[in-house]
Assembly symmetry: C2
Homo-oligomer: 195 residues x 2
């Protein structure tokens, strides 16, 4: 049956989140209007408010979902043996997970300052959990004499910063395959924390 008016539900909620994700990543949260998001979905601006109380909740929902997925995907990895193998697994996981979600990652880093203080605190806590996970690996490696880093907290942040950099330049179908990228970064990380 043809419709004379807009899309009439179906799966409007997910489509709104998808459109917001794309537009926020492209132009930035502050630069994107509710009208633009509605236009992308094919509804009028007012209709968005059936799915989100306001624009801020839309942003927070996207970031929260992303962090939840990150932590549960990480938790679902199979156990491996010893700090060196754990670190290698972490590097590979981090690169792949983030390269699969460039828009979510971009928003998660760029739009932190557009969260309300309460929302910011919640996202930061989740990010901190992820960092602590890596720091635990480094700490154990140092304790076992497998790694030698001057400061495990800084090494944690340095490794994550280095790995996050991949998202700024990697394009699938480019010069390097995902496997090659993983190998190259693992080589640098491994040496950086080595004895």
């Amino acid at each position: 049956m043809a419709r004379t008016q807009g899309s009439h539900s179906d799966i409007t909620g997910p489509r709104i989140r998808k459109a917001a994700l794309k537009l926020f990543a492209q132009h930035g949260y502050a630069a994107v209007s509710m009208r633009q998001i509605a236009g992308e979905v094919g509804v009028q601006a007012g209709a968005l408010y059936n799915y989100t109380p306001d624009k801020q909740s839309l942003l927070f929902g996207l970031m929260h979902a992303h962090m939840d997925e990150l932590l549960s995907a990480r938790a679902a990895l199979p156990p491996v043996d010893g700090p060196l193998e754990e670190l290698k697994q972490f590097v590979g996981f981090h690169i792949r997970f983030h390269l699969e979600r460039p828009d979510e990652v971009f928003i998660a880093y760029m739009e932190l300052r557009n969260l309300t203080p309460e929302n910011f605190a919640m996202i930061e806590a989740l990010r901190r959990t992820y960092e602590d996970d890596l720091e635990g690996i480094l700490r154990e490696g140092v304790a076992q004499g497998v790694f030698a880093v001057p400061d495990t907290k800084i090494a944690t942040l340095a490794v994550i910063a280095m790995l996050n950099g991949v998202n700024t330049w990697y394009r699938s179908g480019g010069r390097l395959s995902l496997d090659e990228v993983e190998t190259i970064y693992w080589d640098m990380v491994r040496k950086a924390v080595a004895r």
Copy 2:
């Protein structure tokens, strides 16, 4: 003599740039209004247009000045002997230069997408010059057998990404001195590119 109206020049131009820098870094270019900038300076919004043709030029001017300073400060460093010493000098320079200008650095990375295409291309070219400088060091080191990296371009980006991370957590007066930070990062970079 008391004035019944606003600030009457003095050095309004620099004060506008300083206010814009602070506000753009704090809230983001798109979220900051010309009225806010004017309020910070203590003039009315219309007065800003004696100093900048529009908001975009204000942003571009800040970013361009920052990149120019980066490149000329880098060029002014004394010559040192061999790739290892050159890399060490680069690491120390990069960390210090960027930690001294947190707002400029933040804007230079976060507001790229708010530049017009022409302005974006100019800033990117300057950034590229800086990266090529580091890549030259790595390449020479590899040629001399001092370094071993699988890919000098990626190693360049990885090192810069790692070093840029310092700005997200370092606070002067914190747990670590600037010298300690420099030592810690140099240790990790040195090992990451080592044979």
